[in-house]
Structure formats: structure tokens, C-alpha cells
């Protein structure tokens, strides 16, 4: 009897988590989720419950949503195979970012923290302030300090939100830079 009440209690806890995760449009951290319950909730218990919840959804006949962990917490998201349907729902395509924006983002992501000067050095062109503004407005980059040189230029880094939006838990999950190395440029003397 004690056992069945335990099981129903576990299911209730999982249900609360499921509801919270399905209705939140930002990832929920473990701290967020402990706040759901009036009684004390151990983080280990929470992790165990989330793991079970993830399995429950994965074990459905044909799963629709998946529970994933990203940089700032956990979220439910549509499984990749449904994106073609969902894309039809909002045909106004999200404006693609320009190459300048994406290259700047890549430099900040892989070389952070960097100054505008560093970005200009790597790209060989002046940084358009508009590019930085777009990335900041998207909450993908922010200023994390100043380099201690004359002019004290701002140091930029990527945000947690950048990782969340790209479905990453940490920067280490970015595709490794070595993969991009092409063949050597020959220096025939």
C-alpha cells in the first residue's frame, strides 16, 4: 500500500513537471522547478523525475515532443521530424541573418571573449555597428568586460540564450573548429 501511494506520488510530481515544462516558453532550471513544490525537493530527486519523464515521452508509440536539456535548463520541444509541418504554419520565413552577422557570431562563439578589434582583425573588414546590435537584440551576445588596453574596448561573449536557441548545453557542444580546417594553403617558394 505504501508502495502504491509512493508511485502515485511520483506520478503526480512528474505531472506537475510536465505541465510546467509544456507551458513555459523558456527553459526551466532545476532551481525554477524546485519552486513548483511547496515542500522541499532534492535536486537529485528532480533529476530522477525528469529522467523518467523524458523516458515516458520517448516510449510513446510515436513520440511527438522530447524533453531536452539546454544551457539554462530543461524544455520540451517538437521532435525534429515535425519541423517540416510546423514550418508551413508560419510561412513568413524568419529573416536569415547576413553572412556578416553569422561570421561575427562565429568569431564571438569560438574566440570569446573578443573585442570589435579582434573581430575586424579576423574578418579583415570593419565591424558594422548594426551587426553587433542585431546580435545583442537577439540576446545571443553581450558585453562581459573591458580589455585592459587604451580605450578599454568592450569584450563580447555569447549568452546562455545563444546556447539555448541552438539546442546546446555548453560551448563545448559547438561543432569543433578543427572540422573546418581545409587543406593547407601551399607556400611554394
Amino acid at each position: 500500500m505504501n508502495q502504491t501511494s509512493n508511485i502515485s506520488n511520483i506520478n503526480e510530481l512528474k505531472n506537475v513537471l510536465e505541465v510546467a515544462l509544456l507551458t513555459s516558453n523558456t527553459p526551466l532550471s532545476l532551481d525554477d522547478m524546485t519552486r513548483l513544490f511547496s515542500e522541499r525537493m532534492e535536486r537529485a530527486t528532480l533529476r530522477m523525475l525528469l529522467d523518467e519523464l523524458k523516458q515516458d515521452w520517448a516510449n510513446r508509440g510515436s513520440p511527438t515532443m522530447e524533453l531536452v536539456q539546454v544551457a539554462s535548463g530543461y524544455r520540451f520541444q517538437a521532435r525534429a521530424e515535425y519541423s517540416v509541418y510546423l514550418a508551413r504554419l508560419n510561412p513568413e520565413k524568419q529573416a536569415k541573418y547576413s553572412r556578416a552577422v553569422m561570421e561575427t557570431l562565429a568569431i564571438i562563439a569560438y574566440r570569446q571573449p573578443v573585442t570589435r578589434g579582434d573581430i575586424e582583425e579576423i574578418r579583415g573588414v570593419a565591424v558594422n555597428p548594426n551587426v553587433m546590435r542585431q546580435l545583442q537584440e537577439r540576446d545571443w551576445i553581450d558585453v562581459v568586460g573591458q580589455r585592459d588596453v587604451p580605450g578599454r574596448p568592450s569584450l563580447y561573449a555569447t549568452t546562455k540564450n545563444f546556447l539555448d536557441d541552438l539546442n546546446l548545453r555548453s560551448l563545448a557542444e559547438l561543432p569543433p573548429m578543427e572540422d573546418f580546417a581545409q587543406q593547407e594553403i601551399p607556400l611554394d617558394t
Partner: protein, 270 residues
């Protein structure tokens, strides 16, 4: 040398998809010469001089050093003049790059004294920058292709009925002190109403005794003193509180006969 360049540069410029005066602009101009009216389109197709150089090296197997520096520089100077209004910054970047190329070339041409034979190849730095830029360019493409929230990734955001659990405002001691200070400032009570620690203790005990009498109605005087647990100062404070309450007419102290118990009750509670 010139011939090689021309042959290479007439290859299809597959990454450029632009039109100038209605004609498809897909051929890299001869001698790297870009007509000034095409310049804007051209600059838009490439992210900058590194990008252009990388394109020439990768797609056309162009040797960095085979680029006719003098011609290139002359052309860039013309662009800068014609482009004073538009994209001057970008033209400057190209100019800087050609200056770098010329510097490299001149250093290559100079005879090297034997003792500094080991000096780094002047092209090495450029190659390093080109490789780094290429890696970043590919990283950018990769980032661009990755599914993102609202662009390939759809996040659960179902509806829920918001009920508000309102958190009461936080108040700390400083807020309270600030408020009291304001009261005093306005009431100009500084001189008359100094509140000391002792007075606060008395006032607190006044409240405690009133609370006690509110629930117990009639309390024996001695019961108001916790002689066992409280030290003398507390007992004095308690006594002062009773006297103050009596003075303010808040409680009544009665005794039926001499040496009989003394009772304390709230005034008007008979």
C-alpha cells in the same frame, strides 16, 4: 604571369549571382579589374578582401604572389576616389589588404642577408589569417545551418491560466529607519521625542502586557513577572511598562484588601 591570371579569372564566379544593367555578372573581371558601377555588387558578394583572396586561391588556384600588385593597387585607388560617398570603409579595407600584399611581395623580392635566412616567410602571416578566416567562414555556415529556436526548433509553450501568487513587498530595517526619520523630520520631534533602547523595551513590554490582558482579562500582578527566567533589568522594564500603561489609563490595578492579591485588567474590562 599576366596570362595565367586572365585564364584563371575568367572562370565562372559561381558564388556571385548579381546583375549589372540587366546582364548577369558571373565572370570575374579581367585583370581583377572591377568596373566602378559593379563595385558595390562585387563588394556585397564578398565579405571583404580576405574573402575575395580566399575565393581566388581556393577556386582558381591563384598563387597569392601572382596577383599583379601594381595594377590592383591602381584600381583600388580609383575605387576609393569614386566611392567616397558609399562604403568608403569597405574600400579602405581592400586598400589595406593590397598594401599588405605589396609589402609581402616587396619583402619576397628583396635579397635576404644570409644571417636572417631563418626569418619567417612573409607570407606565413597572411596564410595564417586566410586559414583562420576560412575556418570562421565555415563555422558561420555551420551555425547558420543549425536548427534554431523559431527556425527549425519549436518549443512547447502551451497555455495556462495565470493565477497570481503575489509576493508581499520586502521591507528591511533600513526602509523602516528611513520612514521613521522622515516622520521625525516633518514632525520636528527630534528634541522632544528621543527614543532610547530602554524606552523601546518598555514600549514592547507595554504591547506584550496588553496582549496578555486581552486574552486573560484578569491577571494577578505577580504573574506578569517571570521572576524565574528573566533578569532584573527585564523585570524593571516590565514594571515600568505596567506603570506607563496605568499612567496612560490603559489598565486598572485593583486590590480588594491590604495584602490580598493585586489584580491587573484592561481598563473598562469588568
Amino acid at each position: 604571369m599576366q596570362a595565367t591570371i586572365q585564364a584563371n579569372s575568367q572562370a565562372k564566379l559561381t558564388t556571385v549571382d548579381a546583375k549589372i544593367r540587366g546582364e548577369a555578372f558571373t565572370t570575374l573581371p579581367l585583370d581583377l579589374y572591377i568596373p566602378p558601377d559593379a563595385l558595390e555588387v562585387y563588394l556585397e558578394a564578398f565579405e571583404g578582401p580576405l574573402d575575395l583572396l580566399l575565393y581566388l586561391i581556393r577556386k582558381h588556384n591563384l598563387d597569392i604572389l601572382d596577383i599583379p600588385m601594381a595594377d590592383l593597387t591602381r584600381q583600388y585607388m580609383q575605387y576609393v576616389e569614386k566611392m567616397q560617398a558609399i562604403k568608403l570603409e569597405l574600400a579602405g579595407d581592400y586598400l589595406l589588404m593590397s598594401a599588405m600584399l605589396i609589402e609581402i611581395k616587396s619583402r619576397m623580392l628583396l635579397p635576404k642577408p644570409a644571417e636572417i635566412e631563418s626569418e619567417d616567410d612573409p607570407r606565413a602571416e597572411l596564410v595564417r589569417r586566410l586559414m583562420e578566416y576560412e575556418a570562421i567562414k565555415l563555422a558561420a555556415q555551420r551555425l547558420d545551418e543549425m536548427p534554431k529556436v523559431d527556425d527549425g526548433i519549436s518549443v512547447a509553450s502551451a497555455y495556462y491560466q495565470h493565477i497570481s501568487e503575489v509576493k508581499p513587498p520586502e521591507v528591511d530595517l533600513n526602509d523602516l529607519i528611513e520612514a521613521w526619520r522622515n516622520v521625525l523630520k516633518r514632525a520636528k520631534l527630534h528634541t522632544h521625542h528621543k527614543v532610547s533602547r530602554a524606552e523601546l523595551s518598555v514600549r514592547e513590554h507595554m504591547s506584550i502586557i496588553l496582549r496578555r490582558l486581552k486574552s486573560d482579562h484578569l491577571v494577578e500582578f505577580s504573574d506578569l513577572f517571570d521572576v524565574v527566567n528573566e533578569g532584573l533589568p527585564k523585570l524593571v522594564v516590565c514594571f515600568l511598562a505596567i506603570l506607563e500603561l496605568a499612567r496612560e489609563g490603559l489598565l486598572r490595578i485593583t486590590q480588594q484588601a491590604p495584602f490580598s492579591p493585586i489584580y491587573v485588567q484592561l481598563y473598562g474590562h469588568d
